[in-house]
Structure formats: structure tokens, C-alpha cells
Symmetry: C2
């Protein structure tokens, strides 16, 4: 077994060393020429000058008659001027002024006498109603300088100035080489041990957003000689190369070895979390970046290093990401060893942004898709306390964040379904939901960190749902319960119930998958355990916690556990058997300040609508 260790170079230092090393290679943009009409969005590599004037001849700016201005002098209503047929020429807008004329009388001011003469009631001065040569652009004028991003109207100005093609920065092309024995091209039915390779698509899309192109190579197996061959070819064919996975120092990690054999490894191992096992190297004059296999780690390295590479290629300053100041909702612990990049969701309530860290490791791409921003915690910090003001770098549109309905609390797929209905209705706002459990919902609503909370909390003394909890949390009022749906909770077990579980107490003898502390379903479990006189310690898997009904169902379907409490719709999705335990009330708690909020009202309108009832029936296990 091979043991290797990575460096732990601080991010800023790694940048400095890598980009300095790259400085000697001449890594920089090349120019190409593109038709002006198709150049929108591209960056000029040279200044563009008008080749002709626009207009390039004196053109009538009206429909009317072209005249010599001095022939019209003195015309008035009392003493009209009469011009004979040789003294004027009919012109349309855009027509060249005939020789000997220097002004145009607009058609509305002309009256004919039927014999070819016209009568004018007012004079025109020289060049009146004429677009003189160069009115828009003069030959030799600089239309736009080098470095300018071409807008639609600039396309028009180039063409107006007789410039049919323009020199632009050739977009850099990044070769992307996915490596790994277990990865396969995207399919909908991978076999066991086959991992769908999606990182290349993500990075290609990121590069495209930054103004770069990419060339994705076929997957290369974990053999150093194959990887070496692929990297050599890619270095010839591209401006820069990304090698996906194999960037660490494990048994099958060959990226750094391959780079060091062909060129130089500048940095191997960065004090970033996630993102540590990255390789920054140069082969010939081509930068080669080894990216970690975990998608979130790799995205962080893409944003920190590869985005800069694109900017360096373009010789442009890195664009400053938009940031907001937000209150951190939950304590974040950080290691002194790394700069940490915490994915957070963001909401704006009562005029203040707050940031909620999103759970999930570097392998969880959905942790990134859900994130609205990144909270960067410096390497020398041990973390940040809840309630502190932090600066969050935005990855979502600020307007979208500001205009979101924040729903937190107990998980039910119906929240996503209501959101989908709202979006189909073009509601004009987003729904951001997080699964923090029913107890979390109460405190989030109380602390002003959510518009709505979803709860289903059984009071074991009264057997009633929700009300007593809300009274306890809001002793002085301030929150309103809005009825949601009834839903069936029960034990989910594998199809055909191979363990023969008949009633709740049977779970004692089998592995269980639990929900997180604070979840309503966890409260229900604890209530049922105590009612049945079972201690949590007797439950094998009590500490195996998941955040959603579907996650519990998925683990039972996979055989990781024999049973778990959950809702009928999740069991149905996974074709599990279901042993109903109780009907519960899944309700919403609303901070009373928001009960008339348009977004809140729109949410309940959908939830209580007839068409949504149909959707609930399809999902199964709900009653209204």
C-alpha cells in the first residue's frame, strides 16, 4: 500500500506561485477575425476604426423635395416661393442629395400646382433635413478600443463604418480529460460500481460562462501511460488542460506523476476545504490543472484557479464577485489548516440577509446547486459564531435571493410540488426550502429566518398536533398556524416485507434508519418508543440519521436498513411495503407579519387549490 502526502499551500500563496511560474510561458490571448455581425459578446483584440463615413454621402433624412436652400429664402405664408420643375427633385428618406441641391423640404410642407411647380410656405437653410456625410461616424474615428466587449449596437456601428470583420480575442480552449476506472459516460441506469461522469459537463458549462471553450476527451482509465498519452495530446490541442480526478496522492492517483514527468508540478495540495488534493502544473507552455474527483472540491478549485486562468488569458482584471452582508444562522466550525468554502443558502427577511450553511460534503453536488452563495472562512479562523455578520460571495442572482419565499422545517415532497405549480403559474418569485425538521421550523420562524415553517409535532400528552408546541414557542403570540394536509405516517419496509415486521415494536429486532433530531418524524418515533416501553439503545440504527423521507426510503430499498418511519408517498416512490401507524397533521406556521405577504398567500392558494389536490392524490397518502 502506497502512502503519499500532499502539500498544504495556502490558497493565495498557491496562486502567486502558480501564476508567477506561468508568467514565463507566454500564456496569453491570440487574435482571430470574425464577421462584425456575429461578434456580439466577444472582446476586441485591437481598436477598430471606421473605414468609411456614415452616411458616406449626403442623404435626405425625410421624404420630400431636394432644393438649393438659397432658392427658398424669403418664403412665407404671405409670400410663398414657387419652384419650377427644374428647381427641385423628389427624394425619399435615404436618397442621395442630387447635385446642386443642399437641403430637403419635407413632403408635408410642399404643395403642387398640378403643372410641375411646387409652392413653399417657408424657407429651409443649407443642409436642413439632410444627413450630412459623417453625421453618425467619420472615417478614421475609433469606434471602439482594444479590450471592449462588443454590444449589439457596436455590431451595428462596425458595419455602418464599413468594417465587415473585426479582430477579437480567440476564446481559450480548455481540454478536459476525465479519468478513472469506475466512471462511465452519463446513462440513466448505471451498474453497481459505475459512477456517472458529470464533472466534465459542469466544468465545460462553467468555462463557457467565463468566455472559454472546452474540448471534452473520452474517459481515460487509471493507467499512468494512458493518462500520460492523453495529457500530451491535450496539451498540443488546447490552450490549457484539466485532468479530472486522480489529483490526490492515493493508490490510483497519477495526475501529479504524469505532469511531473512531462513538465513541472508547481503545487500539489492546497490548503482549501474542499479542494485540497489539486495539482497545478505546467507542461511546455500549457497550464495543466489536476482537479479532485469530488464535484464540490473541483468546483472550488475551478473558481479559485481556473477562472483566474481564463482572466489571465484574456489579460483582464478578475471580475469582482458580488457579495452581500448576511447574519450567519448557525455556528460554523473551521479548521486552522484550511481556508474553508461553506455553501450557504441566503434569504432576506425584514430587510436583512441571513446565511444558512448547507449540509453535505464535497461529493454532494446538490449542496452546490442549492447554494445561493459561498462563505469563505480564512485559514487562520477557527470558525464563526451564529449571529455574526459575514460577507457571502453570491452565486445566485441577488434579485432572485431578495425575492424568495423561505420555507423551512419538516420535509415533505409536497413543498417542491407547490413550488413547481407556482413556477408554472409564473409567480415571479422563488421558493427556497430547507429541511431542518419541525422543531427547527419553530425557531426559524421565531428568529425571523423563514416566512413559513412546516411542522407536524405530536403532543404525546394530548394526542393533538402542533398547537401546544406553537403556544410554547410563542407564548405572547406572533405566529399563526395555517392548516396544511393530513398525511399517513408508517413503517416503510422492503417490498414483500422480508423481515416480517407487523407492528411498531417489531423494529427492535431489525436495523432501523432514523430521522435527524428535531424532525417531527423523530418526535413521533420517540413517542412510539416510550409508549411501547422501548429504549433508544435497543434500536439498532437509532443513530443513523437522515434528513428526508426519501433518503430513509432509499436506504431501506438499498438494504442499508430494514425499516424506518416515513410518509406513504416516499414508500410508494420506492415501491416499499408500508405499515400505517398514524394520520398526522402537516401544518404551516407563519410569522404573523407575513400572513398577508403576497408570496405566502400565493403559496397557500396553490396548496389549497383543486388542481393541487389532484397532484396530492397521485402522490398518495394525503388527505385534506
Amino acid at each position: 500500500m502506497k502512502h503519499n502526502y500532499l502539500d498544504n499551500t495556502p490558497v493565495a500563496e498557491a496562486k502567486q506561485i502558480f501564476f508567477y511560474s506561468l508568467g514565463g510561458t507566454g500564456f496569453k490571448y491570440k487574435s482571430e477575425t470574425v464577421p462584425s455581425g456575429a461578434a456580439c459578446g466577444r472582446i476586441l483584440s485591437e481598436a477598430v476604426y471606421a473605414k468609411i463615413c456614415s452616411p458616406h454621402y449626403n442623404a435626405s433624412s425625410m421624404d420630400g423635395i431636394a432644393v438649393k436652400a438659397e432658392n427658398t429664402y424669403g418664403a412665407s405664408e404671405l409670400e410663398p416661393v414657387i419652384l419650377s420643375s427644374g428647381q427641385y427633385v423628389e427624394v425619399d428618406t435615404g436618397d442621395p442629395l442630387p447635385d446642386g441641391t443642399d437641403a430637403v423640404v419635407m413632403i408635408e410642407d410642399v404643395s403642387e400646382d398640378g403643372e410641375g411647380n411646387v409652392r413653399l410656405l417657408s424657407a429651409v437653410h443649407p443642409w436642413q433635413n439632410v444627413r450630412q456625410v459623417g453625421e453618425d461616424l467619420c472615417m478614421g474615428d475609433m469606434i471602439a478600443p482594444s479590450g471592449k466587449k462588443i454590444t449589439p449596437s457596436l455590431c451595428g456601428a462596425f458595419l455602418a463604418g464599413g468594417v465587415t470583420e473585426v479582430p477579437v480575442v480567440k476564446k481559450p480552449v480548455f481540454g478536459i480529460i476525465p479519468t478513472g476506472d469506475e466512471i462511465i459516460a452519463p446513462v440513466s441506469d448505471p451498474g453497481k460500481g459505475e459512477i456517472i461522469e458529470f464533472n466534465s459537463s459542469v466544468f465545460s458549462a462553467m468555462l463557457s460562462e467565463w468566455g472559454a471553450e472546452s474540448k471534452i476527451y473520452d474517459i481515460v482509465r487509471d493507467k499512468p501511460e494512458l493518462i500520460s498519452e492523453a495529457v500530451s495530446l491535450a496539451c498540443e490541442e488546447n490552450d490549457a488542460v484539466l485532468v479530472l480526478a486522480g489529483s490526490s496522492a492515493g493508490r490510483d492517483d497519477y495526475t501529479s506523476t504524469v505532469i511531473s514527468e512531462k513538465g513541472r508540478v508547481i503545487i500539489h495540495g492546497i490548503a482549501a476545504k474542499p479542494g485540497k488534493p489539486a495539482v497545478l502544473g505546467i507542461i511546455g507552455n500549457t497550464p495543466v490543472v489536476g482537479l479532485p474527483g469530488y464535484p464540490v472540491s473541483a468546483i472550488i478549485i475551478m473558481e479559485e484557479f481556473v477562472r483566474d486562468l481564463v482572466d489571465i488569458y484574456y489579460c483582464r482584471k478578475s471580475s469582482q464577485a458580488e457579495t452581500v452582508s448576511a447574519v450567519l444562522s448557525r455556528r460554523v466550525v473551521s479548521s486552522l489548516k484550511y481556508k474553508e468554502y461553506v455553501r450557504v443558502s441566503l434569504g432576506k427577511i425584514n430587510g436583512e440577509f441571513f446565511a444558512v450553511p448547507i449540509p453535505g460534503g464535497a461529493g454532494v453536488i446538490t449542496g452546490f446547486t442549492k447554494a445561493a452563495g459561498i462563505l469563505e472562512i480564512p485559514q487562520n479562523s477557527e470558525g464563526i459564531e451564529a449571529g455574526e455578520k459575514v460577507t457571502v460571495r453570491l452565486i445566485k442572482d441577488k434579485n432572485e435571493i431578495e425575492n424568495s419565499l423561505i420555507i423551512t422545517g419538516s420535509h415533505d415532497p409536497l413543498i417542491d410540488e407547490v413550488n413547481n405549480f407556482l413556477q408554472k403559474k409564473n409567480c415571479g418569485f422563488s421558493v427556497v426550502s430547507s429541511h431542518v425538521g419541525s422543531m427547527g421550523a419553530l425557531s426559524a420562524v421565531k428568529n425571523g429566518q423563514a416566512h413559513l415553517g412546516a411542522i407536524h409535532l405530536l403532543d404525546s400528552e394530548t394526542g393533538l398536533y402542533n398547537e401546544s408546541y406553537v403556544k410554547r414557542f410563542f407564548p405572547d403570540g406572533g405566529a399563526v398556524i395555517v392548516k396544511g394536509v393530513g398525511r399517513v405516517q408508517g413503517l416503510m419496509v422492503k417490498k414483500g416485507n422480508p423481515c416480517g415486521i407487523r407492528e411498531f415494536s417489531d423494529i427492535k429486532n431489525h436495523t432501523y434508519v432514523n430521522r435527524q433530531r428535531g424532525a417531527g418524524t423523530r418526535v413521533l418515533l420517540d413517542h412510539l418508543l416510550s409508549k411501547n416501553g422501548i429504549s433508544p439503545d435497543e434500536i439498532n440504527g437509532y443513530r443513523n440519521e437522515e434528513y428526508t423521507h426519501t433518503a430513509v426510503a432509499a436506504l431501506i430499498a438499498a438494504g442499508n436498513a430494514d425499516a424506518g418511519l416515513g410518509i406513504y408517498s416516499a414508500a410508494k416512490m420506492y415501491d416499499l411495503d408500508f405499515i400505517p401507524i398514524c394520520n398526522e397533521e402537516y401544518d404551516f406556521i407563519v410569522n404573523e407579519n407575513y400572513i398577508d405577504d403576497d408570496k405566502v398567500k400565493a403559496f397557500f392558494e396553490v396548496l389549497h387549490s383543486a388542481e393541487f389536490r389532484n397532484r396530492l392524490e397521485e402522490m398518495g397518502g394525503y388527505n385534506i
Copy 2:
């Protein structure tokens, strides 16, 4: 001669009527399916659910050995646990957990005894170092709702969830039909009477920015039957149709007639300036918009009506344009007949935005390329006074506007050249220059509306340049003169000097083209006239004013005037003869608050650099 009149429907009313009429046609998005990896930037037309869990099997999250967790219980440094070769399996990151194992011990914590046994110093709990099924995504989870704009990481999430293709909104296709007898496809050497057709390129680029595609048809001549045929075909082949030019009510304007024959003209004539002669119609179920021929008029109608069409197609709310509050630098007079769209440049000085209206009519596309924003003046307003606060809709990036060096005053092509050098050096800021003449420069700098002013003002009493003017404008100091360049002023005349102009006083007998009031060159003219005892009234063309040296040169080259004062570099550009009159000092005045501003310093560094001197020598007529 045909006389027709347009309606004058207010913009908001025109929208209401047109879009209401369109409501019955079912004009709305269609769906198409695209590969998930290529879907970034597209809009989902349906919610997307995960088809498989991700991971879809229990996968090791480490390089190490897979074990049954309970076999490791109790392991410690004092009492290590020994596992024999049958009790563990070596696994790499991503490998499936072998049957009978439920945890992974990381490689760093394993030591071998050489005989196939391993020694563990600590225990693992079930599922430790394992990515359990569904850790990232659970089958059936909604990955994104309908209407969501697909991000790079969403592409990854779709693929991770086994979704290889996604339903997206098919981009609407707009057919664009350029019409006109005089227009030609872009060339660099149009003949007299030929107008380069660039509007279709501008509108195609605008549509692309809004998420629509376009199909540009061949130019159609001004014959109603040809236009009718083209419109019919385009209505069949596209989601919407734009007919360029011919939208007014003149002799050769057929758009409204063609639309009314095939369908319905909803609006003809909008109370917008520019933009009045537009047609909004429907043929069958296809919206057809007749756009004015002047580019700026058409751009306004594109932004006001066609952009909304794209949003209506997508069933999305129109995005709110970013605005800033700015001080208006100059009075703008507006007609009660129209809503007016004033192109303005924007600068930020001393923390405050100010807006400067850009001269030029609806035919001047460069008036739009230079604009940073649009000031909309409501129909019921007679205008806005200088100094008032106005809201400007941005068309440039706000950061770019905030980070601009504002130079105003006398025109010289060298300012654009310095800017080009700065951009090539990747200076990180833009240079915004406007030609308001030397006198305008003094007041702009005094009023804090420019960082720098360019001046060349001859004091006719002393024969010296600039200093006395600055003293008069800044009696208490506050501004500094920075020496610029010396340059030669003279009379520009046609190549070969056909009028035989030998000295200044000869201009009396010929047509002249003048510079605008306040320009240093105008001050010079007036000084020369008075010195030579010539009255302005004796100069034929004294009132024919242009804003730049190149414009004056262009008009002399075109024969619109026989002579004009200007700088040598302009005469050289147009291959004119040049009769030197004087050497003048073209200097810069800097508000003393900005003398240490980085942007100001960077500007002068280039201006005074050796490499820039080379450029000035190429241009000719300068001395330093």
C-alpha cells in the same frame, strides 16, 4: 404624392392593446428536449426528478479497507483489533462496499503485519467513510422545478440523478426581414445611394441576449407583393416576425398595408421619440412588428415591445432593468406629444452619478453605442432642468460606469488613442470622453462632472494659451493645468486646393464648415476673423457647426464645404491639403481633488510615454 398619418398611441396603452390582442393567439413557449450536459443557460419547461439515487450504491468515500463495523468495536492504541484476510477488503474511493461490510477504515489508520492481517487502533461505526445510497440525491427527489434557469452545477445534478436529457423551453425564433430599395448587405465600399443594412445584425444580437434566436432573411425590395410574400413565409417559419423599415406612412412604406392584408394591424404609430413609426400587428397567430428604419428608433421599439414579446413567450415576468439616480447635467426639452428616450452618458464623480445627454438623432447608432443609460421622459413632461435628479435605466454595467475616467472638452483623436493604450495595458477602467469644446471642459471640471478637461484656448490679448482662461474660471484655485501636446492648427482644403485658398482671409469667398460654440477651434476662428477684420456674417457656413475635427474634414472631403479649421492629423486622415495657421497648446485641466487619482495618473503616464510619442508621430502634426 401620398399623404398618410400615423396614430400616436401612448407607449403603455400600445403595450396593453397589443399584448391583450396577442393573448388570444396562444403565443407561448414550446418544449424541446436537450442533453443535460448541454442544457446550461436554458429554462426548464417541466420539473426534473432524479431517476436514480446518487450514489446509487454504497460507495467507499476513502481509500482503505471495507469492514464490518462491529468487528472493529473496542479497538484502541492499547488494545488494537486484528482482522484476518477474510475480514476486510481493500477498497478505493468510489468502490462499492463488498457484501457483508458496512464501513471503511481509512488507509492511514491501517497497518499490515505482512501475513495478510491488519491491525486497527480505533473502531469505526456503521457507515463510517461510506457514501450511502442517496447521500447526494434520492430517486424521486425534484432536482429543479419548471421555469428554473439551468446552472453548470444543475447540469451535474441532472446527470448524477440519471437524467440524461431535460425538457427545456424551445427558444423562440424571430424572423427578421430587412426591406428597402437602397439597402445592401454589409460591405466596406458602398456606392452612393447604397445604405449598409446593419439593423438585422443589431436586432439578432439583442434577441440572442434575451434568449431568442433569429433567422435573417435576404433583403426585400420596396415592392408590396415581394414584402407580402416574404412576410407570409416568415410567419410560417418563425414564432414572431420583424419587418425592418417601411413602418411609417410614406410613399414606400408598405409594412402596415401588408400586415393589414394578411392579418390585423393593432397599432400603427406610437407616442415614442424616437420610435414613433412602428407597426404592431398579428398575422394568424404570429406577432409581426414593423420596425422603423432608423437604428435608434428601432432599438427603442425592440426594447419596449419586442423584449416583452420574448418574455411573454417564456411566460416570465419582464426583468427589471437596473437603474441609478443621477444629476442631469444639461437641460432636456421634451415634447408633450411623446414619451422620450434620451441616450445619456453617465459618470460617477465624488460619489454622485451625473447624466449627460448625448447629441445625435435617431439615425446615429454611435449615440447608442456611447450611451451608458436611457433617460425616459414621460409623455406628460415638458422636459427636465439641469441639476435635477433623474432615474436612468442602465445599458452599461454599473461597475464599469463607476470605474470610469471622465474626460471632456476639446476633441482630439489622441484621447481615443490614449484610451486604447490604457486598455491594452489592462488598466482596469474605462475612459469616457465627450466633445463639448474647451469652454465646456472648464465648466464640467468646475462643476465636478469630469476628472479631466481637454483645452486649447488662445488668449487673443496675450497670445498665450489656456492659463488666463483657467485663472478666470478658477479665481480661487482648485484646478491644475497639466501640459498635453503641441499641435498644428490650420485650414483644411480639398486635395490640390481647387479653390486656391492661400491664407486665412481667403475663406471669405468660399463655403466654410465651422466648429460648435465653445470649441477651442471656434475661439481660434473668431480670433482670426477679428484680427483680419472679417465679420462672421461674411463667412458662408459660419452657422454650419460640427463637433469634431474629423467631421469637419469629412465634410470638406465630401464637398459640402471648401474649407474649415482643424488639426493636421484630421487633414492627413482624409488626404486633404493643409495650410498651417498656428501651433497651439492642447493641455489638460484637472480638478485638484483628482490630481492623485490612479486613473488620472495612468492617463498621463501613457500620454507622456515614449511609446505613445511614436503613435503621435504616426498620426502627424503633434509636437511634445
